[in-house]
């Protein structure tokens, strides 16, 4: 693959804004209902005082997630845009990223300069990952209630995402999820890549994820300057 940026953030897009002028782009993928929108909402609340944020949602049906974020007022309305995916969210975040690139650039144009753009994928299957032409880093969100064998099953999201979030650990006792086994399986699949066990809806639950995003931002700024 063509890489002309520093290794931490390879040059990952074409015919787009110049490097150094744009926000860090972080993708959030994972199965339906695992807590991607909850993570986006909590990240906005945790970071918005210090970080200029925009959000792009990719819904299967128009704009459910965008509307949720608007209702929750996690950001001013003009900072949240919805991309329509033609019933195929994984196509819009991986195979043909045109509409998402446009949405990100339009956000930066309209409300920029931004520090961070969060791109949420519509809930999809375990193979859905983001194109490196669209995002600089990706988070894969799964949850303990979706089955504690998901880390063992692997798949590109679990195996290769820059961060794996195992969400809803508050529900583990009720669904009989074995968190230790999930941790061992995830480590076996991911090697040195990080895994966070949390419950993003609990007080402070987003903090480890926000800290990881903060580290990415610091690394991005270091590359830009």
């Amino acid at each position: 693959m063509h890489r002309d940026g520093p290794e931490v953030f390879p040059e990952r897009y074409t015919a787009s804004v110049e490097v150094g002028e744009r926000a860090l782009r972080v993708g959030l993928g994972g199965p339906v209902g695992s807590g991607k929108t909850a993570t986006v909402a909590a990240l906005c609340r945790a970071l918005r005082a210090t970080v200029s944020i925009g959000v792009v949602t990719n819904d299967i049906y128009t704009r459910e997630d965008a509307d949720f974020l608007l209702r929750e007022a996690v950001l001013p309305a003009e900072r949240i845009v919805a991309v329509e995916t033609g019933a195929c969210p994984h196509t819009a975040i991986r195979d043909d990223i045109s509409a998402n690139l446009e949405a990100v650039e339009e956000l930066e144009e309209a409300v920029g300069p931004l520090d961070l753009v969060l791109v949420e994928s519509g809930g999809d299957n375990l193979t859905a990952t983001f194109s490196r032409g669209l995002v600089d880093a990706q988070v894969f969100v799964i949850d303990v209630a979706g089955g504690d064998d998901i880390p063992r099953k692997g798949g590109p999201g679990v195996t290769t995402a820059d961060l794996l979030v195992v969400n809803k650990i508050d529900l583990a006792p009720y669904v009989g999820a074995d968190l230790e086994r999930m941790a061992v399986d995830a480590a076996a699949q991911r090697g040195a890549l990080p895994v966070l066990f949390t419950a993003v809806k609990q007080p402070g639950g987003i903090d480890p994820v926000a800290a990881w995003v903060g580290d990415r931002l610091a690394a991005w700024r270091a590359v830009r300057t």
């Binding site: 074409t14 049906y61 128009t62 329509e84 033609g86 990223i97 045109s98 446009e102």
Partner: protein
């Protein structure tokens, strides 16, 4: 096909396959070409009605798009063609979609077949140019002929609703492909007619371009743009 006229550039025929491939990353996958509205209205239900829908689209907006594309490839002023496309697209929703798709295609084209003409167009109209005009310039950048651009436009005009119908209706994909195969001769004749119109437009100006339209597609597009819940962007 390009062979009838000789391929001026090595690899041009393969470039046409790439440009016409539904997987070419230029944003088209999120659009149904009016099929979603037609399905909701009960006009598009099965392979038979898909064939009628595609045929109607091909001979109206398809011919217009193919002629615009051919004229752009042959060197007609793209901004004049863009105005001509506006005048031939009665639905405001469709005008917006066509511009958006044009901008997305321009992004892909500049990465895949870089050319100063594409950069100039992007600079002249940053909010987007109608998709068929960009398609024509893209074809030229890929070393293709006006007839090739007309083929790509005409084929896109029928393949977009056909693949959307597979997703919307659960239509048997073999039947959908068979619909496209049965339309092949008509795609040929529309592309050839469009090439001739493009040549006339180069001589006489954009007023010589065809102006066929399909009122049900226009009405459907306007209604569809207002739906709260839909699978496709258009």
């Amino acid at each position: 096909m390009a062979t009838d006229h000789g391929c001026p550039v090595p690899g041009a025929r393969a470039a046409l396959l790439l440009l016409a491939d539904g997987r070419f990353p230029a944003g088209g996958h999120a659009h149904s070409g009016g099929a979603e509205a037609a399905v909701a209205e009960g006009r598009l239900r099965d392979a038979g009605t898909l064939a009628e829908f595609c045929r109607g689209r091909l001979h109206t907006t398809g011919l217009v798009a193919a002629a615009l594309a051919a004229a752009a490839t042959s060197g007609a002023d793209p901004l004049g063609l863009d105005d001509a496309a506006d005048a031939r697209t009665p639905s405001a929703a469709q005008r917006a979609v066509s511009r958006r798709l044009g901008r997305q295609l321009l992004r892909a084209a500049r990465a895949v077949w870089p050319a100063p003409a594409l950069d100039d167009l992007a600079a002249a109209r940053p909010r987007g140019v109608h998709q068929p005009v960009v398609l024509g310039l893209t074809a030229a950048s890929a070393g293709l002929l006006p007839l090739d651009a007309a083929y790509a436009a005409a084929y896109d005009c029928v393949s977009t609703p056909a693949s959307a119908a597979v997703r919307l209706l659960g239509l048997d994909p073999f039947q959908a492909a068979a619909v496209l195969a049965a339309l092949a001769a008509e795609v040929d004749s529309v592309a050839e007619e469009a090439e001739g119109a493009g040549r006339r437009a180069l001589r006489e100006g954009p007023a010589a371009l065809p102006a066929g339209s399909a009122p049900l597609l226009d009405l459907g597009a306007e209604a569809h743009a207002g739906w709260a819940v839909r699978l496709f962007a258009s």
